[in-house]
Amino acid sequence: MEITESKGSSAEPQVRLQFYRDPPSGSEQLDTVQNLCLARLRLLKAVEEVGQDMIKGSKEYMERLKMKLGKLDLGASLLTTSGVHVDGLRFREEIRRDVLSHFLLRLAMCRTEDQRRWFITQETDLFRLRFQLEQNADSRFSAVAAFLSANGIHFDSLSDAERSDLAPELLAATPGIGSDAELATVAFYRAHFTEALDLVRSRRVYLRDGFAYVPETGVVSMATTRFRAHLSHQLAVACRALPYLGEDARLWCSAARLTSWLRPASRPACSICTLPCAAIIISGTLAVDGDKFAKEYAYGIRYNYGKEGKRADFSPYSCVRIITTNQPGQGDSHGCPFRHCGADLLAQRLQAAGISQDQAQGILTRAKDSQYQLACRDYFRAVHKLSSDHEVSINHPNQYYEESRALLLGNGQQQQSARAPVRVTKVKAAPAATAAGSQAAESDWLDETIDQEMSQVDLSAYEA
């Protein structure tokens, strides 16, 4: 995958600290996506844990956080400050992983208020730590200044005359400055109070007429506030873009499992898989940014769900319809595996799914005799190790999914959680249809892994 940034010569140090304004572009293996997502989740979980135990911003907090994050997969590179010389290739790779993992998890966490809040809080704490590390770094390269100017952040500085006019107030309101002489050595900035909320909140800044008079040590607070506001806005945008993915995508699990590659506007029957991250795998593009997503794909998705354009009812196609209409063409990924796969390919897939030779033969015979739905039923029994007198008939891909889900979870349990679980659907490289459910075992295993992670994350008591 290529990320189109990090221009400039390698001689000049570059800023590692990210505002995460621009989403990465390019394509990515799904297992990498999944690993990065998990790595970021673990990272933020650690940030949360340390924040619960210790006073945020204190020296001990920073030390503990550095120690904990340093042990994690993604952590060490995030803690490296910009002044430290790193080989250019490695540098780019580390930035890429930082940006990509942030955007992936952002997308995964944008659906519920609790998740958004949690994500924003942890990312903001992480940003604050990194900003402070950059500030404290003993380096000739001022990463902070470079970071601020690169992101168009400009704070209005106070002239010496203004500062001495306000000396008594500044002295009284600013912790850490003990005397007029000391005051004269500190640069002050004037910013609207909404820029320095942390300082306002704790009354550590002088306020007049809506402006905060912030000492240079408070710049971290202002940058953090901007970061938080930016992130909060972006998550809201992503959340608005995603509802149809979020709610309806759950129904699409089985359709998605038929799918190896998603092509917008091909057919509504196969468009979306269930992992929110998977929303990005449309046309093989990594389209993680909410705005971009909104512009380029939301119409299509809304069209497919009857919310846009002629508002046609594109309810998911039943098996009969899939079998009888709209043959998949070259490169398309929809269709019924028993109807549309060649006999050889189907046999291969059945084998890959771990179906015994006998059963596979039976299924192949059914398919050859145009009894596609019976083939599907036999397949369902085989995959779920059901006896041949188990009553089931599959008339709809969604039903296949629901029956399968009910069996795997035990009846009645599938509704236990109000929170939509994050599911990963592994996308195979082969562009043609895959046997329905052949990945059930695999992806269910993945489900549990992430669900477990998520359940650890989904705690109460998140600060606003």
Partner: protein, 418 residues
């Protein structure tokens, strides 16, 4: 003590909404010169028998007026401005219906002063209690204007034992929940019982912030009255409570003084005790201790939850308080010293005034001006002045307003397209 009225009669409410309620001004206020802003505003109404309706919204003044006459609400609450009309919220997907803006509101209730409010407790209110509210208005009005630069503050008597402040400046309306929390925490110096502790890691700075000093100055001006009226330090327990708040280095000396007070309580009334202690602290160079005591005893207790949520509802001005029958009238913070809750008109009083006035002058005065012959006149005129200055400011910022309005419309359209 305020007289309690038995029940609000629907007919009385109908007359009130029809002839006295300043519907037009309310709509002008809540529109901020943008009809869409009004249409996207949530109202809730409490009807007879505690029927509570949320997510009401009205496109025009006529609709709003019609609903008031139709439903005769015992209470109206004002909520946030949403991304689309609240009554249409079911037609957009869940994520697209979001609270966008709302006035920053402050709610202070005398019941939160229990512990220092010694004249009454719980729901009871007397004119002595009201001094706490006066101090609260003076302290907060200064901080909101001078520190935060807000200009359009609507102070409203809640009808029984509290006050509300609606901060209507554009910046205030657009504050995020996080920013609202920050403002309220800046303004909160005394935690109410049961409030959560301030965010960890941010201990009170040792210096006296200029805003705190200004608050202490405002309190000091009225504190003698307060000490006398409440008899704040008159009993053994109250004196002990005061001394317990002194820092270690002052306590031993104070202890000896106290022995004589307690021996002869009549010779040392509350005020004298306070003067002794405060002079003693100041003479030891501990002005901060004196300031801290002033704050502790009289600084306004804020209801944080009401202020921080963008979608939180608050009772609208000019409602009739269902328990007391008094109207929630706006008042002038500069003249809060002369504001007496006892003199706030009740619904019954207004209706009596109205009927006697209309008997005399039925032919001469048009209906719309009915309020002019009642004691509601001053309050409505004050409200009109407030709305006028607000609208003048909005007109001045017309360019900005157009942009923001467009942004809001975009946002709501965006919600529907997506």
């Amino acid at each position: 003590p305020l007289t309690m009225c038995a029940e609000l009669l629907p007919e009385e409410l109908a007359t009130y909404y029809k002839r006295l309620y300043p519907t037009h001004l309310m709509v002008q206020w809540l529109s901020y010169r943008s009809p869409a802003y009004f249409a996207n505003r949530e109202f809730s109404m409490t009807l007879h028998d505690d029927i509570y309706l949320r997510f009401l919204s009205y496109n025009y003044e006529s609709e709003f007026r019609g609903a008031l006459l139709d439903r005769r609400p015992e209470k109206i609450d004002i909520g946030a401005v949403y991304s689309c009309r609240p009554r249409d919220r079911a037609t957009v997907s869940g994520g697209a219906f979001q609270a966008k803006e709302k006035e920053l509101v402050i709610d202070i209730d005398l019941t939160d002063y229990d512990g220092v409010r010694l004249c009454c407790s719980d729901a009871r209110v007397c004119s002595k209690c009201w001094l706490f509210m006066r101090i609260a208005v003076q302290v907060l009005d200064r901080a909101l204007r001078c520190d935060f630069g807000f200009r359009h503050l609507l102070w409203v008597y809640s009808g029984r034992r509290g006050i509300h402040c609606w901060i209507c400046d554009r910046t205030a309306r657009q504050l995020s929940a996080n920013a609202r929390t920050a403002v309220i925490e800046y303004l909160s110096l005394v935690r109410r019982p049961g409030d959560k502790q301030p965010q960890q890691g941010q201990q009170q700075p040792p210096k006296c912030h200029p805003s705190v000093a200004a608050a202490a100055d405002a309190i000091r001006r009225q504190f003698d009255d307060l000490v006398r009226q409440q008899d704040l330090f008159g009993t053994k327990d109250r004196t002990r409570a005061l001394l317990a708040q002194l820092p270690e280095d002052l306590r031993s000396v104070a202890d000896t003084a106290v022995a004589s007070w307690l021996a002869d309580p009549d010779a040392y009334p509350s005020l004298k005790r306070w003067k002794t202690i405060s002079k003693f602290a100041v003479s030891r160079g501990r002005q901060d201790v004196e300031q801290q005591l002033l704050i502790q005893y009289a600084y306004p207790r804020l209801d944080v939850g009401v202020s921080t949520g963008v979608n939180h509802l608050l009772k609208a001005p000019f409602c009739v308080h269902p328990k007391t029958g008094r109207i929630c009238v706006p008042f002038d913070p500069a003249a809060v010293d002369s504001f007496e809750p006892d003199s706030v008109p009740t619904l019954a009083q207004l209706l009596a005034e109205l009927s006697s006035a209309s008997a005399q002058q039925q032919q001469q005065k048009p209906h719309l001006m009915a309020y002019k012959s009642t004691s509601l006149k001053a309050s409505i005129e004050l409200f009109a002045k407030f709305v006028d200055s607000l609208r003048a400011d909005e007109a001045q910022a017309a360019d900005g307003a157009a942009a923001a309005g467009a942004a809001l419309r975009d946002a709501s359209n965006g919600g529907e397209i997506l």
